[in-house]
Assembly symmetry: C2
Homo-oligomer: 134 residues x 2
């Protein structure tokens, strides 16, 4: 089973990889079709090594994969990784949607106070990965 830590590491890598316009452009190109690193590098006003590093960042994040063909390294975009990012956003949006559901719960809780124990429905205590001291 994948731990939450690993999921967050992956999210860090994915969003970080997407947070640079050169990398997003490289991703666009390799999503459209396979390109060698040199071919990609020719398209930007920076050194080959710089572009190579950008591709490496994308690769580490799983957004592109490379295959060897002779002396060339052909890169292509991984659309699945892109979809996983989209699903992260969808999950966030569902949290937002839950905001309405929670108001419903609150109203239901007020109408029907015969539930188990005390609820303390103060909206502050939901998910929270870090510590809650004392």
């Amino acid at each position: 089973m994948t731990t939450t830590e690993e999921q967050e590491d992956r999210a860090d890598a994915l969003f970080h990889a997407l947070a640079d316009r050169t990398r997003r452009d490289i991703l666009r190109r390799v999503l459209a079709g396979e390109h060698s690193v040199s071919t990609l590098a020719r398209g930007y006003d920076m050194s080959f090594a710089a572009v190579q590093k950008h591709v490496a960042v994308l690769e580490r994040a799983g957004l592109v994969s490379k295959r060897r063909s002779g002396r060339e390294a052909l890169a292509s975009g991984e659309v699945e990784a892109l979809r996983s990012v989209a699903s992260m956003l969808t999950e966030l949006e569902s949290v937002w949607r839950g905001r309405i559901a929670r108001i419903d719960d609150l109203l239901a809780g007020l109408a029907d106070a015969t539930n188990d124990a005390h609820h303390t429905i103060d909206t502050t205590d939901t998910h929270h990965p870090t510590q809650e001291k004392e």
Copy 2:
């Protein structure tokens, strides 16, 4: 009209804001409901100032908005911004989908060579924001 530069600046800010797990967690909380900065800060093992800065980054990216209520600053998540990020990803995915369409074009071009001019369908010449020297 919004220039491409502005769009890219915005994309940089959005992805960068999302590329930190503390910020993603803060965003989750404020998407679920309004919270003061102090309340948020209590949830993390770092100084108030640090959390305040994270909120500021999210705010600059447009992912959260703040309103004043007395001495408190109430932050809440902007789901619209989240959706705009999702649409950026969708746009990228559509580039990928275009890959197939382009192969179709290639095959059509081979089958029917009576098209206008020379095509040079080498897949290298599509969008590219930077310069193409010589």
